[in-house]
Symmetry: none
DNA sequence: GTGGTCTAGACCACG
DNA sequence: GTGGTCTAGACCACG
């Protein structure tokens, strides 16, 4: 269910959080679903329990998961909503990249065309 | 000429390299121009000399600068070309972000519109 | 009769004890009344029997309940008295919070007003 | 500057965060002040570096501290503001306690009188 | 030197 | 069994 890239510059706990969010958006993980236990996921992925804990705690703070002591971690009811709301912050990152492309004389048409292409590929994947 | 944001998450040496590239693309730094000396820039910006060195060395490796022992660092003749070519790698980063926005149910129209807006603002700045 | 909030940070056994105390103060549970059996309450609330046991044992230690081997748990004769006496310890917790509000520049008037408001609401509920 | 109570039920990282907040509210730690380094504070308090890190990271997430890689942690410019704003959440905790006192037949007058007493003591401390 | 991430592993509270 | 906290200590990036 989860795949970790140890060579990535992205911290493992961020990889876990991001993949969890994708599973929720894809409807594979649903509200009130139980997450794998810290120890279980730790041994399955060969990742230290502390690292799993960090990922889960971060998601709790964001309102995507909730913990029940002695029971486990669960997807919150409004997890999808929270994730979608957070995604809007990504427009800022998009701004930065587009501006850098502009600086490098990459024209507007070429960028729009490129994004258009992404959506066409995305539609084919469905 | 250079402005460092100590609060940024981006490493100072990356900020320096990126600003140098922008100055070259803007035609302010031209091929064969001499870069400020490591010591000089270090004291002007109150930045550790190692950090300046790192930025210069990185740019040398990319072919944007060249060092002449005992003389200093100079902008290469084809620096602009190299930078523009490198910029194309940023399409990958753009892909990642656009896909994440798509996952979060942000529609194509909204993204294209947003980018369109960026270009309009960019034109006004000119 | 009892309602457990699994999402609460408060341990279930504390929730049970607190609700029992409220039922006693409200006169719903009276001295010498029999408490539900551990097994019974456990299945009704879908709570681990150990948790019920813990709540009952704690209340025995405080003098609110008493156990009769093979018979069950009963409200003690002076349970109400014990609970009211214990409540005075809550003044300490109140002190801590009020001091923290003071530190954060929340004025005396605002605090007193707030508490006044609570009592007015409380009276309406009657 | 910091005092840790190892016997307290409150986690060390919370004790550290709370004491930092108090120092800021008291004007002892001011905006842009540098915090002790993780390693330094760790050895001074005989507390594991990870625990200090946790406290600092939490405060970063709340907007009270900011970290500069390779430089250290600094109090943010609007730290005091953030702390005061957060303090308002404590009214909820106050509600809970006051209601519990009410349940235990502690009258409004007695509570208001008690708080009044706290403020008089507070004034004497000045 | 300074923060950031991670592993290994212990101990506790809760259920 | 499950999460929560903590110690010990390593290794890396950054300055």
């Amino acid at each position: 269910m989860f795949q970790i890239d140890l060579m990535s510059r992205k911290p493992i706990y961020e990889q876990l959080a991001q993949q969890t969010e994708k599973l929720i958006l894809a409807g594979i993980l649903k509200p009130l679903d139980k997450m794998p236990s810290v120890r279980n996921l730790s041994s399955n992925l060969s990742v230290n329990p502390n690292t799993i804990q960090r990922a889960y705690t971060d998601m709790c703070n964001k309102g995507i998961l909730t913990s029940m002591m002695g029971k486990g971690y669960y997807v919150t009811e409004n997890a999808e909503e929270v994730i979608k709301h957070d995604a809007l912050k990504k427009f800022d990152a998009l701004d930065v990249i587009v501006k850098e492309l502009m600086m490098a004389s990459v024209g507007k048409d070429r960028i729009l065309e490129h994004i258009d292409g992404l959506f066409k590929k995305g539609e084919l994947e469905k």
